[in-house]
């Protein structure tokens, strides 16, 4: 074995440059960081506040009804079991806190990722520019995002959410881009032939037809947010991740299992429910379609009598 020699010829210290950049941002862009922080804080705190304000039984009932309506009977029963488990594990506040961060982070990720994906789909140059950045964001180990997030935004839910946004955004961007680019050429032509303006082409043809793919991206973003939220508990994001972290620190298997199971249950709930929004045409469970059909016939009668 050769000695670990120093082959550094150019004296480039990447780590030092990154640190310098971080210092520069901290001293010069403080206002911007504060604004971002305040905005994220506003979203997360209000969402979490709302979810904890709603009575747990009411919230559980709402989730169960959603499961029955959007997915089906089997999943509705699964929802009932999941809710009972959350109550039995006495993890309700932590669960709501995690869901709040996941939904806020996903919301912000989509708010940025959606338009970015649309821009990529419309211009090959933007695509060429953004694609490597997305690759970088996705392959960088997620723990690394915790460091700048903590430096810029301190500890707590805000840096946790921001690190989650960065980690979870790429699929939303990628799949929005892919979905729009995959829209069949004849549908685009049909849109144009009937007189679409560029905006109408986007809102009435491209986005609706790309929706199944875009919803896959939304689903992926939510799933990645959930996995990142657990990691982000290391910088104080709280919630179920914190339960898992405490379990690790105390080598408490039972606690770790409960926290982990909570995350899995949320993942299944969010995954199944968001996937139903990705189907084109008539979506929802048979029960949902039945109720919708009832509603339509009723409103038809209304218009018939009024008209």
């Amino acid at each position: 074995m050769a000695d670990p020699e120093n082959y550094q010829f150019l004296n480039i210290d990447l780590g030092q440059y990154v640190e310098d950049l971080v210092d520069w941002i901290q001293t010069n862009l403080g206002g911007l960081l504060d604004a971002i922080s305040a905005a994220i804080e506003f979203v997360v705190a209000n969402l979490e506040g709302f979810m904890l304000w709603v009575h747990p039984l009411v919230m559980a009932a709402a989730i169960i009804i959603l499961g029955f309506l959007r997915v089906g009977w089997g999943f509705g029963i699964f929802c009932i079991v999941a809710m009972i488990l959350f109550f039995e594990m006495t993890l309700w506040p932590e669960t709501m806190s995690t869901v709040a961060i996941v939904l806020s982070a996903s919301f912000v990720a989509l708010l940025i990722g959606g338009p970015l994906g649309i821009a990529m789909a419309r211009s090959d140059k933007v695509e060429a520019l953004v694609r490597p950045i997305l690759d970088f964001m996705q392959t960088m180990p997620p723990f690394v995002y915790l460091i700048p997030a903590a430096i810029f935004f301190g500890l707590g839910k805000v840096p946790g959410t921001i690190a989650t946004v960065v980690f979870a955004m790429p699929p939303a961007v990628r799949l929005t881009n892919l979905g729009i680019r995959q829209v069949h050429e004849e549908n685009i032509e049909a849109g144009l032939a009937f007189g679409c303006t560029p905006r109408q082409l986007l809102t009435k043809v491209q986005l609706p037809l790309a929706m199944p793919t875009i919803m896959q991206g939304v689903n992926q973003t939510i799933m990645l947010s959930l996995s990142m939220v657990v990691i982000a508990s290391m910088i104080g994001a709280g919630g179920l991740g914190n339960v898992v972290l405490t379990g690790i620190q105390r080598l408490n298997v039972g606690l770790g299992f409960e926290g982990g199971l909570g995350v899995v249950l949320i993942a299944i709930l969010l995954d199944r429910v968001t996937q139903t929004f990705g189907q084109s045409g008539a979506s929802g469970s048979p029960l949902y379609k039945y109720l919708k059909a009832m509603w339509w016939t009723r409103s038809d009668k209304d218009t018939a009598t009024s008209g």
């Binding site: 069949h184 004849e186 032509e189 049909a190 032939a193 037809l209 084109s280 008539a282």
Partner: protein, 391 residues
């Protein structure tokens, strides 16, 4: 008849350096040679023709002949590289985007080969798509969309989704979507090619029926000769991006411009394609409308015109009898000169039926329409020529 659409010396060259490619076209190089030299693809070259208001104009050619490019230049889904496309006298290649969008919304609509319906919309929403884009309010939009669906026989399926329909039904929705905006021009790009033969024939009949109710200017792209013959008032045949021949189905079958055009008819059973109406001609018969005319003078008239038979029609245009020079020579009155056992053929009659009548008749057989009006005659010579040139 006014010309609704006029195409003037239109070229479409895909790829770099179109000027250079155009020069090579004018030097008479073929598409492949130009591609090898300039890596530019010639879509359409030197296209000039006019489309009459209210006719069904079929553009026919094999794949790669430029017919799809041609139709897309009529609503500028593809911009012509050179030349002008005039609709009602306005050159659309010089139109602003704003005006072009208005034109597409108001005057023309399109039907696509793979239907191109919006899967997230119901049938009635799809049918009202053009109206939605134009900002028509929902009540009126639904009413007009429903009326269009009724025309194509799909009123009952208004609230279904396209995924719940068969191919033929989907294309009816496509057709209803095009009709709902009440366009003056209908562009149909291989509209029936994806349908199975039985449904295809049905749709062709429906299109002809729709044309009878309300004559629109229809530009129909097809690679299928039977289809072109059935529905086309005139046919343009394209090869290598060039329009090689334009004419009525009859003209093209009897006088193909070149071997390429002739090759289309190989293996095609013209007795099924043509009807009595397609073959009826008046240029070799004299039409007499005076039942009391002297046989001798009619005979002189025949000799003067170089015709060998005459048809007597009454005041309302119905055929009374057919006479030849020979029968006139021996007769004292026109009534005596009538050839026995000639029964007029109907305009809708297939060629195979007309064939047996013409074969057994002693004179050209007159062809009449549904109301008994005389349209022209079919002679044995003319019929044999038609069969010979296409067999």
């Amino acid at each position: 008849m006014t010309q609704k659409i006029v195409v003037e010396d239109v070229y479409k060259i895909f790829g770099p350096r179109p000027d250079q490619a155009k020069q090579l076209i004018e030097q008479g190089l073929s598409k492949d040679e130009i591609f090898a030299q300039t890596s530019a693809t010639v879509g359409v070259q030197r296209a000039s023709f006019g489309i009459e208001e209210g006719e069904i104009f079929v553009v026919m050619g094999l794949s790669g002949s430029g017919k799809s490019t041609m139709v897309r230049m009529l609503n500028r889904l593809i911009d012509p590289t050179y030349g002008a496309v005039k609709i009602d006298g306005n050159d659309i290649t010089k139109m602003s985007t704003e005006d072009l969008i208005q034109l597409r919304r108001r005057d023309m609509s399109m039907v696509f080969q793979s239907f191109a319906l919006m899967p997230h919309q119901t049938v009635i929403e799809n049918a009202g798509f053009g109206l939605e884009l134009a900002g028509v309010d929902k009540a009126e939009r639904d009413q007009r969309a429903l009326a269009a669906l009724e025309q194509v026989g799909l009123k009952a399926n208004a609230n279904s989704y396209p995924s719940e329909l068969s191919g033929g039904m989907k294309q009816r929705v496509g057709l209803a979507r095009a009709l709902a905006v009440d366009p003056t021009i209908l562009l149909m790009d291989e509209a029936f090619s994806a349908l199975d033969p039985l449904i295809r024939t049905q749709m062709q009949d429906e299109l002809i029926q729709l044309q009878k109710e309300h004559a629109r200017t229809v530009v129909f792209i097809s690679h299928d000769l039977d289809e072109a013959m059935r529905i086309g008032d005139r046919i343009a045949i394209m090869e290598q991006g060039m329009v090689v021949q334009i004419g009525t189905p009859d003209e093209i079958v009897t006088n193909p411009a070149n071997d390429y055009v002739r090759s289309f008819f190989h293996g095609v059973d013209v007795t099924k394609v043509f009807t009595g109406g397609d073959l009826a001609r008046k240029d070799f018969v004299s039409v007499i409308d005076d039942a009391n005319a002297d046989p001798g003078s009619v005979r002189e008239q025949l000799q003067r015109n170089g015709h060998d038979s005459a048809v007597l029609i009454d005041g309302s245009g119905n055929v009374t009898g057919v006479m030849t020079e020979k029968s006139l020579a021996a007769a004292n009155s026109l009534n005596d000169a009538f050839i026995k056992d000639i029964e007029p053929a109907g305009a809708d009659m297939s060629l195979s039926e007309v064939l047996s009548r013409v074969a057994h008749a002693g004179a050209p057989v007159p062809v009449v329409d549904d109301n008994g009006q005389y349209l022209g005659s079919v002679s044995q010579t003319h019929l044999l020529k038609t069969l010979d040139r296409t067999g």
